[in-house]
C-alpha cells in the first residue's frame, strides 16, 4: 500500500501549519534573537518596535504569566531570555504584527544592551571548565583495565563527528487562538503534541485540559521537531493569550537555521585492543558531546551514544564514558539516530585506525567481531534474534562484494587520477525509548453508523508513513476497504499523554494500541453478528472482505449492516486502548537492564569514487541487506531505508555545520549548508530484504525502520578514506567527519604528518 497521503501530496492539497486558512485578525509573530552567543542583558527597549506601523505588540519575558521555562529533561532554558542569553539567536522578544513583513521589519527597532561574556564553542573546553549539563555516565562490561595486557595490538586516537542540520523543508511553525472559557487551540508542526501542551501549561499557567494541540502532518521532522517545535508553539499560545487575537509564527528559514539546535557534534577519544587474530578484546572510549547552551534532549541522546558505543560488535571488555558539555551554541537536539550514530562512528574509526596500522582492510576486523546470538551488550541486555553475521554473509553472497572488491583493485591499478574505495557498514540499533516510561501509546477508534471508521493515535505523520501503517492495521483487523478508514489528526483531546513520535517506535507503540482497540471492537461486533444470526456463537464469526462469515459460510450480513445493527442494539462502536511495551527496564545506578524491545540489524557495502585531481567524489553503489523482520509495507520501508541512508551519507560527506569562535552559524542558509541533491545520491542503491522472523514486540512483526538505515551512511566516510588511501596511504589522516571535498583534497595533497611506522606492541613492551 502506498502512503495514504500520496494523492493529496502530489496535488498540493495536503495541509501543513502554514496552509491553514487564517482567521480574521490574525497576528504574525517574528522572534528577536540574541545577537551574540553569551551576554548579560543590561537594557531591553521594545517601545520603538511596538509603535511601528502595523505592529500590535511586542512580548518579552515580563509578559509570561507562568514559569519562563521550557526545559524538558532539565529545567535550564527560558522561553524568552530575561537576564542573560547563552547562544546566538536565543529568543528574547516576539514582535506581533498585522503582517509577517511588518513583524520582521520591526525586529531591527528593538534595542538591546548587554555585557558580553566569554563564549565556549568547544566541548572539550567546556568539560575542562566544568561546564557539564549533568554528571558524566559510564557503561562497563568486563574489566577493561586488566584486558589491555592480553592485547597484541593497541591503538589510541581521536574521532570527531560534526553536527547536522535537520533541514526539514517545512520550517518550524505554529498557529494558536483562544477558544472559549480560557481554552487555547494550537496547531503545531511538532513531533510531540503532548510536549507542546505540557510546556504551554507551564509557561501560561493554565491547565493541560485547556490546551488542545492539533497536528495534521509535518513537512519533515527527523527529530528536529521533537522538542524544538515547542518554543514556537508556546510563543504563539502566549501571543494569543496576551493579545486575544489568533497568532501565527512560522520561522523564516534563516531564523530556523540559526535559532534551533541540530545533531550533536562529538569529539571522542578511543583506545582499542586486539589479539593476534584481530579479535577485539578491549575498548575504552570517552565521548564529549556538544550539548549546546541548554540540556534539551542531550542527556537522552548521550545515553543512546553509550548504548550504541560498540555498534554490531561483541567486545568483552568495555568502558565507555560520556560527558554532555555545555557550550554557547543553540541547544542541540534529537536527530534520526539520536546519538547512536555518533557512538557507532567512534568504534568504526577505532577499527579503521587499527586496520590501517595493521595493513589490513577494516572489514577483516569488523567481520571477525560481529555480535552472535546470546552476546551481551555493555548495558547488560543480550542479543536475541541476532542477525549481524547473517546480514553480512548474505550481503557477501548475494550482492557480490568479492567481485566488487576485485573490481575496485583492478580499477585502481589502471586509473591514475580516479580512485575507488570500499567500506562495509554493519549496523545494530536498539528499538524503544531508552526512558522506559515513554514506551506507551494509545489509540481511539470510532466506527460510524455508515460503516466508516475514524482512527486517532498519538503518532504524528511526517512522511514516514506511520498513518498508512495504522490504517493497514485497522483495515486488516476489520477486513474492510481502506477507503472506509480515515486517519484523524493527532490531537491531545482525542489521544492524551502521548510520547513524541520518535525513537523509530511510533508504529510499534501506537499500532499495538490500535490493534488492541480494533480487537475489542471486532469482538463486540462478532458478538453482535452472532446474535443477529441467531446462534450467539461469536467464536464462529469471521469478518472477511467487508462480509460477515459464519464459519466458512458467507452470510447476508455485510460490514455496514453489521455496524448499523450494532448501533441499534446500543453496542458501543468506539474504543480506546492503551499499550505499554512489556519487559523493559533499566537501572541507571548499575547502568544495566533490558532497555530495548528488540534490535535491528543489517550490513551495507558502499563504493566511493574519488577524483584525485579535484578532490570531488561520488558514490557508485550502495548495496545492503537489512533486517526488516516481516515488513508490513515494503514500499514504505524501502523509502525509509533509501532516505535514511542518503541522510546518513549527507552527514558524513557534504553536510558541514560551521560556527565561528563567537558562536555564529556560518552555514546559515541552504546556499551554505548543503544537503544531498538528486545528483549527489549513489548511482545505485540495492536494498535486499533479509527474511527474518521479526519480533513479537514489533507491529505485525514488522521491525521499526525509521532510524537504523541512517547509520549505513557511516560507511560513506570510510569508503572515501579507502579511496584516498589508494592514492596516498602514507599520510596519517585525522578521523574527522564530515569528509567534505575540502577534507578529501587536503588528505590527497595537503601537508600531513606521515603515518608512524607501527611500534612494537605496547603489551610486549610492557612485559619486557
Amino acid at each position: 500500500m502506498k502512503n495514504i497521503d500520496s494523492r493529496s501530496h502530489v496535488r498540493g492539497e495536503s495541509i501543513y501549519v502554514d496552509d491553514i486558512p487564517v482567521r480574521e485578525g490574525t497576528l504574525y509573530g517574528a522572534v528577536f534573537g540574541a545577537p551574540h552567543a553569551h551576554g548579560r542583558i543590561t537594557a531591553l527597549d521594545t517601545a520603538k518596535a511596538a509603535n511601528a506601523t502595523n505592529v500590535f505588540r511586542v512580548l518579552t519575558a515580563a509578559d509570561i504569566p507562568g514559569e519562563n521555562q521550557i526545559g524538558g529533561i532539565i529545567p535550564d532554558e527560558p522561553l524568552l531570555a530575561a537576564d542573560a542569553f547563552h547562544f546566538q539567536g536565543q529568543p528574547i522578544a516576539i514582535v506581533l504584527a498585522e503582517s509577517e513583513e511588518a513583524a520582521r521589519a520591526a525586529l531591527s527597532l528593538i534595542h538591546l544592551e548587554f555585557e558580553p561574556l566569554p563564549v565556549i564553542t568547544d566541548p572539550r573546553q567546556a568539560r575542562a571548565q566544568g561546564e557539564l549539563i549533568q554528571p558524566p555516565r559510564t557503561f562497563k562490561l568486563g574489566d577493561v583495565d586488566s584486558a589491555w595486557t592480553n592485547c597484541t595490538h593497541i591503538f589510541e586516537g581521536r574521532a570527531e563527528s560534526g553536527g547536522q542540520e535537520h533541514l526539514y523543508i517545512e520550517a518550524q511553525g505554529a498557529y494558536a487562538y483562544l477558544t472559549e472559557q480560557g481554552g487555547l487551540q494550537i496547531f503545531s508542526s511538532t513531533q510531540g503534541p503532548t510536549a507542546v501542551q505540557r510546556t504551554t501549561t507551564r509557561v501560561l499557567a493554565i491547565g493541560m485540559h485547556q490546551i488542545e494541540v492539533d497536528v495534521t502532518r509535518l513537512g519533515g521532522g527527523f527529530g528536529g521537531k521533537e522538542d524544538q517545535a515547542t518554543p514556537w508553539a508556546v510563543m504563539a499560545g502566549l501571543g494569543a493569550l496576551c493579545t486575544r487575537r489568533p497568532v501565527k509564527i512560522v520561522l523564516h528559514r534563516l531564523d530556523d537555521m540559526r535559532m534551533t539546535g541540530k545533531r550533536h557534534p562529538y569529539s571522542s577519544d578511543f583506545k582499542i585492543g586486539l589479539d593476534g587474530d584481530f579479535k577485539i578484546l578491549a575498548y575504552e572510549v570517552t565521548f564529549h558531546q556538544d550539548a549546546g547552551a541548554a540540556a534539551d534532549l542531550s542527556p537522552a541522546v548521550m545515553e543512546r551514544t553509550l548504548f550504541h558505543c560498540t555498534n554490531s560488535y561483541f567486545v568483552p571488555n568495555v568502558r565507555a564514558t560520556a560527558y554532555s558539555c555545555r557550550t554557547h551554541l543553540p541547544p542541540n537536539t534529537a536527530f534520526r539516530g539520536f546519538g547512536g550514530p555518533q557512538g557507532m562512528f567512534v568504534i568504526e574509526a577505532a577499527i579503521c585506525k587499527a586496520a590501517e596500522a595493521l595493513g589490513v582492510k577494516p572489514a577483516q576486523i569488523q567481520k571477525r567481531n560481529l555480535l552472535e546470538e546470546g552476546d551481551a551488550f555493555p548495558y547488560g541486555q543480550t542479543t536475541s534474534g541476532c542477525r549481524a553475521l547473517a546480514s553480512w554473509n548474505q550481503l557477501e553472497r548475494s550482492q557480490g562484494t568479492a567481485e566488487l572488491e576485485a573490481g575496485i583493485a583492478a580499477f585502481n591499478e589502471t586509473n591514475r587520477f580516479i580512485k575507488k574505495g570500499l567500506a562495509f557498514q554493519p549496523i545494530c540499533f536498539g528499538i524503544s525509548f531508552t526512558k522506559t516510561h515513554m514506551n506507551q501509546a494509545s489509540a481511539l477508534v470510532h466506527i460510524y453508523t455508515d460503516g466508516t471508521v475514524g482512527i486517532s493515535t498519538g503518532a504524528v505523520e511526517m512522511g514516514q508513513g506511520v498513518n498508512t501503517k495504522m490504517l493497514q492495521v485497522a483495515a486488516e483487523l476489520f477486513s474492510i476497504e481502506p477507503s472506509r478508514i480515515k486517519m484523524e489528526t493527532t490531537n491531545t483531546t482525542r489521544v492524551a499523554n502521548t510520547s513524541p513520535t520518535a525513537a523509530s517506535s511510533s508504529a510499534d507503540l501506537n499500532g499495538k494500541a490500535l490493534e488492541k482497540a480494533c480487537h475489542c471492537l471486532r469482538d463486540r461486533l462478532c458478538h453482535t453478528a452472532a446474535g443477529i444470526l441467531g446462534h450467539g456463537r461469536a467464536d464462529r464469526i469471521q469478518l472477511r472482505e467487508e462480509k460477515v462469515f459464519d464459519g466458512d459460510m458467507e452470510t447476508d450480513l455485510s460490514w455496514a449492516k453489521l455496524v448499523e445493527g450494532a448501533y441499534f442494539q446500543r453496542v458501543s462502536l468506539s474504543q480506546q486502548a492503551h499499550y505499554a511495551t512489556p519487559g523493559l527496564h533499566f537501572d541507571t545506578e548499575t547502568e544495566k537492564g533490558e532497555p530495548f524491545a528488540y534490535h535491528v540489524y543489517g550490513t551495507a557495502a558502499l563504493v566511493a569514487v574519488v577524483d584525485v585531481i579535484r578532490g570531488t567524489y561520488h558514490f557508485e553503489t550502495v548495496r545492503l541487506v537489512h533486517d526488516f523482520g516481516r515488513s508490513m509495507n515494503k514500499t514504505i520501508d524501502l523509502g525509509q531505508v533509501e532516505g535514511g541512508l542518503v541522510q546518513g551519507i549527507g552527514w558524513m560527506t557534504m553536510e558541514e555545520l560551521l560556527y565561528n569562535e563567537e558562536g555564529r552559524l556560518l552555514s546559515n542558509a541552504l546556499s551554505t549548508y548543503k544537503v544531498p541533491d538528486i545528483y549527489a545520491v549513489p548511482e545505485e542503491i540495492a536494498v535486499e530484504f533479509l527474511e527474518t522472523e521479526g519480533s513479537p514486540l514489533a507491529l505485525l512483526k514488522s521491525k521499526a525502520v525509521g532510524e537504523p538505515p541512517l547509520m549505513y551512511g557511516l560507511g560513506a566516510y570510510f569508503a572515501l578514506r579507502d579511496a584516498i588511501r589508494a592514492w596516498r596511504d602514507t599520510a596519517d589522516l585525522p578521523l574527522a567527519a564530515p569528509m567534505t571535498p575540502e577534507r578529501v583534497l587536503m588528505a590527497l595533497h595537503g601537508p600531513h604528518p606521515v603515518k608512524p611506522v607501527p611500534e612494537e606492541s605496547p603489551a610486549i613492551a610492557a612485559q619486557e
Partner: protein
C-alpha cells in the same frame, strides 16, 4: 508603477497594482490563497516554490520552471503563471501518478515543486529520457526519500512521453491528461493579452532587475519598496550572436539560453558539462549573464567563464556606449567601473580559433546546485604546439573575479610540458589571496586552485599532467 501588472495565473486573468518587486510566491500564497506552492528557503535553493512561467514566443507557448520566491511579480507581466492548482485535473496527471506509484513522496512538502518541475519537463523541448527528466528536477531538494524513488518516477515519466509529438505538443498533452483543458486556450488568450500590453514605463534611474536571482536573495524586503526597471527577457538585451568574429551576448540572456545556444555549444564542445555545474534548471531559467557580471560576486560562474575568454562589456548610458575589458570592470569587492545612469548592455568576446584549448572547472561542497569553493577557466590560443595567448580566471580566491595575470605570463610562448603545467599550477596558487569562509579555508582554496590548473590541463592535454611526484 502607474500601469497594472497583467498576466494569467492558472486559468484566471490577473490585473494587479501591487508592487512589481513583491515576490511571486507571496502573491500566490497570500493574495490568491493558493497554498499548494510551498515556502522552503526563500533563496531559490530548495525548489519547493517552483512555478511554471509561460510565454507567447514566435507563435507558440514556451514554459520554463522558476522559483517563485525570487521572481518579481513584475516579471509575470504578459505571461502565464502555473501553480500546482493550475495543473490538477480530476484524475492524477501521468507525472503525478508516477510519483505516487514509485512512492516519490513522503512528507509531501517538497513534492509539489517536483511535480511542477516534471510538468515543465513534459512541456519542454528536452528529449524525453531518464537523464533529462532527472535534470528537470535538479533544482528540487527532498529531505525524505533519498531521491531513488523520484528517479524511478522520472524514468517512468520519460518513458510515457516517448509518444509525444513534436508538433501540437500542447494539444497532445491536454488530450492525454497531462494538463487540464484550459491550457488549450492559452495560446489564444496569452497572445491576445500580449498584443494589448504596453511596455510599462520605466525610468532609467530605477533599480535594474533581470532574473532577480541575486537581488531577491540579498535584499528581499527592500525590493518590494523599490521602483524597478525590469529588463528580464527584454528584446533589446537578448540574443547570442556572432558579429565580425566576436560572440555577442545580450545582458539579459539567461544562463539557460547560454546552455541551449547552438552557437555556444559549437564554440565550446563541453558547454553542457560546464553548465550542469551552474545552479539549477529554474535558476538558470531566471538568472542572466548580465546579472551574474554586475552582481560582482567574486565567485560568479559565468563571470569566470567569460573572464577567461577575455570578454568585454558594453555599457550604455542614453546614446553613449562604452566598452570595458571585463578584467578591468571590477575595481574591488562588489565595486564596478559603472557610472551613474550606465547599465550593462552586452558582453562580447573573440570566438575561439581552430585549435583553441578551453576548459572550465568548478568545485563546490556539493557538485551541483551550489556556489563554488573555487572555479576557474582557461583559454589557450595556440600557434602550433606553442601557446600564443593565454587567459586564465579564478573565482573564490580574491575580492573580485580574478584574472590570473602571472600564470598567463608563465604560459605565453611556451609549449605544454609537464614542467610548464606544474609551473602554471604553482604560480596560480601563489598569485591569489583567498580568505576562509563557509566555502572553505584559505589553504584549501589555494590548493584547490592549483589542482584546478592541473585539471584544466588534464582535460586539454592529459598526457602532460603528472601528479604522482607530488605525493
Amino acid at each position: 508603477m502607474t500601469q497594472p501588472i497583467r498576466f494569467i495565473l492558472n486559468d484566471r486573468d490577473i490585473e494587479t497594482r501591487l508592487p512589481a518587486g513583491m515576490v511571486m510566491l507571496d502573491f500566490i500564497r497570500k493574495q490568491r490563497r493558493l497554498t499548494g506552492t510551498k515556502i522552503g528557503c526563500r533563496e531559490g535553493d530548495c525548489g519547493a516554490c517552483t512555478v511554471l512561467v509561460g510565454e507567447w514566443n514566435d507563435g507558440a507557448m514556451v514554459y520554463r520552471s522558476m522559483t517563485s520566491c525570487l521572481m518579481p511579480l513584475g516579471n509575470a507581466h504578459g505571461r502565464h503563471i502555473v501553480t500546482i492548482e493550475g495543473l490538477n485535473t480530476d484524475d492524477l496527471t501521468p507525472y503525478q501518478a508516477a510519483m505516487v506509484a514509485e512512492a516519490g513522496t513522503q512528507c509531501g512538502f517538497c513534492t509539489v515543486g517536483f511535480i511542477v518541475s516534471f510538468a515543465g519537463f513534459c512541456l519542454g523541448d528536452a528529449e524525453p529520457n531518464r537523464k533529462n527528466a532527472i535534470a528537470a528536477v535538479d533544482g528540487n531538494i527532498c529531505r525524505c526519500t533519498g531521491y531513488k524513488s523520484i528517479e524511478r518516477a522520472a524514468e517512468s515519466i520519460s518513458t510515457q512521453l516517448t509518444n509525444r509529438p513534436e508538433q501540437n505538443r500542447l494539444a497532445w498533452l491536454v488530450e492525454n491528461g497531462y494538463l487540464p483543458t484550459y491550457f488549450a486556450t492559452l495560446p489564444q488568450r496569452l497572445s491576445a493579452l500580449v498584443a494589448e500590453l504596453a511596455q510599462p514605463k520605466q525610468e532609467a534611474t530605477h533599480q535594474v532587475v533581470a532574473g532577480g536571482t541575486d537581488l531577491f536573495v540579498q535584499r528581499p524586503e527592500e525590493m518590494a519598496e523599490t521602483p524597478l526597471r525590469l529588463v528580464f527577457d527584454h528584446p533589446e538585451f537578448n540574443g547570442i550572436t556572432v558579429q565580425r568574429n566576436r560572440c555577442i551576448i545580450g545582458a539579459s540572456a539567461t544562463a539557460e539560453d547560454l546552455r541551449q545556444s547552438e552557437l555556444m555549444n559549437r564554440m565550446f564542445p563541453h558547454m553542457q558539462g560546464y553548465m550542469k555545474l551552474v545552479s539549477s534548471t529554474p535558476i538558470r531559467n531566471m538568472g542572466t549573464v548580465g546579472g551574474n557580471l554586475v552582481n560582482a560576486s567574486p565567485i560568479g560562474d559565468l563571470t569566470v567563464f567569460l573572464l577567461a575568454n577575455d570578454a568585454h562589456v558594453t555599457l550604455e548610458n542614453g546614446d553613449q556606449l562604452r566598452v570595458v575589458p571585463l578584467r578591468n570592470f571590477y575595481k574591488g569587492y562588489k565595486t564596478l567601473d559603472l557610472q551613474s545612469g550606465e547599465h550593462l548592455r552586452s558582453i562580447s568576446f573573440a570566438i575561439p580559433e581552430k585549435g583553441t584549448l578551453f576548459n572550465f572547472e568548478k568545485v563546490s561542497k556539493r557538485t551541483h546546485l551550489d556556489i563554488a569553493s573555487v572555479n576557474s577557466a582557461m583559454r589557450l590560443d595556440m600557434n602550433g604546439e606553442t601557446i600564443r595567448e593565454a587567459h586564465l580566471s579564478a573565482g573564490g580566491v580574491a575580492p573580485i573575479p580574478f584574472f590570473l595575470a602571472k600564470t598567463r605570463e608563465v604560459l605565453v610562448g611556451q609549449p605544454i610540458t609537464p614542467e610548464l603545467v606544474h609551473a602554471a599550477a604553482t604560480t596560480a596558487a601563489a598569485e591569489v589571496s583567498p580568505i576562509s569562509d563557509a566555502r572553505g579555508t584559505a589553504d584549501y582554496k589555494r590548493l584547490l586552485l592549483r589542482q584546478l590548473i592541473y585539471a584544466h590541463f588534464s582535460v586539454v592535454a592529459p598526457e602532460q599532467v603528472e601528479l604522482e611526484a607530488a605525493r
